[in-house]
Amino acid sequence: MFSTLRSILWAVACVWVLVGCEAGPPPTNLAPAKEKAAQCVEPTQDIRKNHMAYLMKHRDETVLDGIRTPQHSLAECINCHVAPTRADGSPVHYEDQDHFCATCHTYAGVKLDCFQCHADRPEVTNQPNYQHKIGSSESYHFTNQVSKAASLSAQDVKTLTNEVVQ
């Protein structure tokens, strides 16, 4: 009797654990500008798997040699993916669950070291290129992927420009 009960309880516990594994990563908190862009600087699957390798390579090229291409730059990642504040105006930092990087890193249990030194949200005041202002000569998405960026509707453009021009 006891052994049957024990095995049933054991089975329930296993199923319980497995159910926990079923839950996928929470949806990432994308900044408005990013939601409109068709593709990241690399294909999405590639960037999900290898972003750390791209960043590591780029960081050494930048610090040691002064190569400052925007494609794999951490500052550009943040510029596009992170909104500086929430809707209520409070700042978003990387320790918060709703920061773009934290959404997935918390789920995967991987510590984030970048932002002990690097800015974890875009600087809006001194940054004319914040979230790739349309027509900006510096932006990556709008100069290298013009055809993809052109899918913005008139309403989107209006919303974005209203948000950027202060």
Partner: protein
Amino acid sequence: MSTNQVNEYRRRFMAGLGLVTGATLASNFVLRSTEAAELVSRPDNEPASSAKRWGMLIDVNRLTEGGAAMVEACKKEHGWGNDPQSSAEQQPQWMRVVKVTDKTTQHSFQLPVMCQHCANPPCVDVCPTGASMKRADGIVYVNKHICIGCRYCMMACPYKARSFVHEPLKDQKVHSPRGMGTVESCNMCVHRIDKGQLPACVEAAPEAVIFGDLNDPESRISQAMKALGGKQIRADLGLNTGVRYLNI
């Protein structure tokens, strides 16, 4: 005294006057024409080249309050100097104004002191991890990715140019990452130089500072140093600094 001798004295005196006037005019001409025109932004996929060596020449007489405006511009550009939990002694200091007084004459002057961007930097010699580095174009700075915060470089630097960050920081400048446990110092605004802009402190004192390429004999800074000289602080150490001073 014969007439000939008097004429000789007069000639020498007038020649001397001429030299002084010439030097003053040259100083005006050279220093007034400081502009960013010489700086060309390197394509962003091209590494820094050892064909150039960046340096600056600071005329101490033309600075107000020993270059306090330069220090302020540096603070603003890199966001140092106001770390909330650090004491005054712990605050990072990328650049400071130093007052020097000659004890016998009481003559004193002030000068801004920051990383002197030595050609033979002692901080690079002592670094156990290779984090303290000199870039190909002569700019000396810390690669904070591999800095372990041992602070040997701070002790090795004869100019007291390096500081240590003692506390966790938030909302750093995008172009100037700073973080706890790493050493930091003036990096000659390397992010601005790469874009073809002048360092922030040079922009804050355009009348007093020339920035340019020390390797190019035709550059404004080389011409100015040829005409007027350019002293190193602690020249006896033989470090061949990239930052030079006039009128010290």
